[in-house]
């Protein structure tokens, strides 16, 4: 762990100091927006961080105002709940001849940016598939790195979450996470519980099937204790017992999956019954504002029938 953190610290130092075009070749596809506000030679993830903060304004209580939507998006057609499978970190890094840790590091930058966009554009709920129950099968080194990097992101970004009015929730079996990460997650949830602009749900160690099973176990106990009959377990009752009960909008309107994989991978199975799927070839570290706008534009063009016609 010390070795990983030393390596990354040295990389982060190199990134922050290196403002030449060499950095742009390290992140060639990372889209930088609002560049006119920045020094011309500043590129890469650090500039993206500054871009995000310099284009927003704080009001009297320190919460960021909602920015107007890009011109080609209509407010009344914006999804109320966006779910995102952040796929492709490993392949993004492999393409550049690096290990998966570099990809996850770059993926966190995109993660922070997209969370910020959801808050700026007033999307009420956003769920991110941070770590699936199947991801535990990856190598210990990679899993340890992901846990460490996620914890670091939470610690570094807490004040930004508060400023942006983001309230954090988690779904999934967090008891399997390292104790320090569990504590940081609890602290983050507690510190952001009064925020009301956007609800961001981290799906960590999450499985859509296990979500349904845990609801079933709850009903089974109630049936055993005589509190309810089996036939009282209806679809509405099940939905209210799933882990997404933390939010009032449990079903995503839009699911985005990056990196070209065309599957759901055991994410929010019940909740995605009528969601629109958007699959793009972009790897997650390259997913930025323009890609998000494209996904939202595509969503806004779709005709949703909710089963009235198959």
């Amino acid at each position: 762990m010390m070795k990983i953190s030393t390596t990354l610290l040295s990389r982060a130092a190199a990134l922050s100091l290196n403002r030449s075009t060499k950095l742009s070749s390290y992140f060639p596809n990372h889209h930088i927006h609002n560049q006119h506000l920045l020094p011309n030679n500043l590129v890469g993830p650090i500039s993206c961080f500054w871009a995000h903060h310099s284009t927003t304004s704080a009001n009297a209580d320190g919460n960021l105002d909602k920015s107007p939507l890009p011109a080609n998006l209509r407010q009344e057609l914006m999804p109320r709940h966006v779910a995102i499978i952040m796929d492709g970190n490993g392949r993004w890094a492999a393409k550049r001849g690096h290990g998966p840790e570099v990809g996850h590091d770059a993926g966190v930058i995109a993660f922070i940016e997209v969370m910020g966009l959801c808050a700026r554009w007033g999307i009420p709920v956003a769920t991110f598939f941070v770590f699936s129950s199947e991801n535990w099968r990856r190598t210990k080194a990679e899993v340890d790195f992901i846990m460490w990097r996620f914890q670091k992101m939470l610690e570094d970004e807490l004040q930004n979450f508060i400023r942006q009015g983001i309230r954090i929730f988690t779904i999934g079996d967090t008891s399997l996470l390292p104790i320090s990460l569990q504590e940081v997650l609890e602290h983050t949830k507690e510190a952001t519980k009064h925020n009301t602009k956007t609800q961001v749900i981290f799906a960590v160690s999450y499985s859509g099937k296990n979500d349904i099973v845990q609801a079933c176990q709850t009903f089974s106990k109630k049936v055993r204790n005589g509190v309810m009959e089996p036939n009282e377990v209806t679809e509405n009752v099940i939905e209210k017992e799933l882990e997404t009960k933390v939010t009032s909008i449990p079903s995503p309107d839009l699911l985005i999956r990056t990196s070209g994989e065309l599957r759901i991978s055991n994410f929010l199975l019940w909740q995605l019954a009528y969601s629109e799927f958007y699959f793009c070839q972009t790897f997650w570290p390259d997913f930025g504002e323009s890609q998000f706008i494209e996904a939202l534009q595509c969503f806004q063009k779709r005709g949703r029938r909710f089963g009235k016609r198959i």
Partner: protein
């Protein structure tokens, strides 16, 4: 519309009618014709090449686009659904020739009962007629040894349709080469709800039996093990064994035509890891090339999955 536009749309309609007629003849009467035999031989060669790689065990189809097809070719709405049925029998034939063992089709969703009553009645009548046709001796079911299974809340169907479905299941029960699951009066959330209810009931019954044997008072449990600390709690397999779709493994590919990219409450549990394929073609226009493309994508994906497994 100008005279020219009317002529073009009329000739399209004629062309479409000709294609449908060919598919119907190919399916029924014209099996021994030269063109049909040549087509069959060419397909067998193509499938022979495809079979050098892994073939999916289970393909599921969401047959979307019948109504848009009928509007596109200025046909009656009912004609669109009938064309859809012809496309279905063609695709089934291709899949069985390719030796895909399990096929599932989304024929009628519980949500579809919200459509106009005339359309619902028409669809019920069409389904009854086609289900009865499955039992005929020269049907595709008997030709390929397919067992038919109807998945869904069959109590919601008209009695005539439900009886036809039960008759078809009984008549094909001895077939064992392949399984065709027809999802009718089905939604995945309804299926899961039904499985959860049955799991809770079964769990409750098991514990009542344990209690009646004295297991609740620290005596031996039903199996005589003596360990009563862990009361049996429901797991994934308990729910899966009560699903309507327990007769088939999880689909490898879910195909939805007409370019729509959503599941519409179809096989949500079972398609957790399935490849989703959404060609823009309308269902009645689906053809061999779409099946080949879906299988090639599956084979490419399987190659990467096996590669990843070897690395770990």
């Amino acid at each position: 519309m100008s005279a020219l536009q009317i002529d073009i749309s009329w000739s399209f309609s004629l062309e479409v009618t000709a294609i449908q007629a060919y598919r119907t003849m190919d399916n029924k009467q014209n099996r021994n014709s030269i063109t049909s035999n040549l087509g069959h031989i060419a397909r067998r060669c193509l499938f022979g090449i495809l079979s050098m790689g892994p073939i999916p065990d289970h393909i599921a189809f969401i047959m979307d686009g019948n109504r848009r097809y009928s509007k596109k070719y200025n046909m009656d709405e009912g004609a669109g659904h009938k064309s859809g049925f012809i496309a279905l029998t063609t695709m089934l034939r291709y899949c069985y020739e390719l030796e895909v063992k399990y096929i599932t089709v989304y024929a009628f969703s519980i949500d579809n009962f919200k459509r106009r009553p005339e359309e619902v009645n028409f669809l019920m009548e069409l389904m009854r007629e086609k289900i009865e046709g499955l039992i005929e001796e020269d049907s595709i079911i008997n030709q390929y040894g397919v067992r038919v299974h109807f998945a869904g809340d069959l109590k919601l169907l008209d009695e005539s349709v439900r009886l036809a479905a039960e008759k078809a299941m009984a008549a094909s029960a001895c077939n064992s080469k392949a399984v065709l699951s027809i999802c009718i009066a089905y939604t995945s959330t309804n299926e899961i709800m039904n499985a959860v209810q049955q799991s809770c009931e079964e769990n409750w019954d098991e514990l009542r039996i344990l209690d009646s044997c004295g297991a609740a008072y620290g005596l031996t449990d039903y199996s005589g093990n003596g360990d009563t600390k862990d009361r049996k709690s429901i797991v994934v397999t308990d729910i899966e064994k009560h699903m309507y779709m327990k007769v088939a493994p999880n689909p490898d590919i879910v195909v939805r035509t007409s370019g729509e990219n959503r599941m519409s409450n179809f096989l949500l549990w079972q398609s957790a890891y399935s490849i989703l394929y959404s060609p823009s073609v309308l269902w009645p226009e689906i053809g061999l090339r779409h099946l080949v493309w879906a299988v090639l994508n599956f084979q490419r994906n399987e190659f990467f999955v096996q590669k990843k497994k070897k690395q770990h």
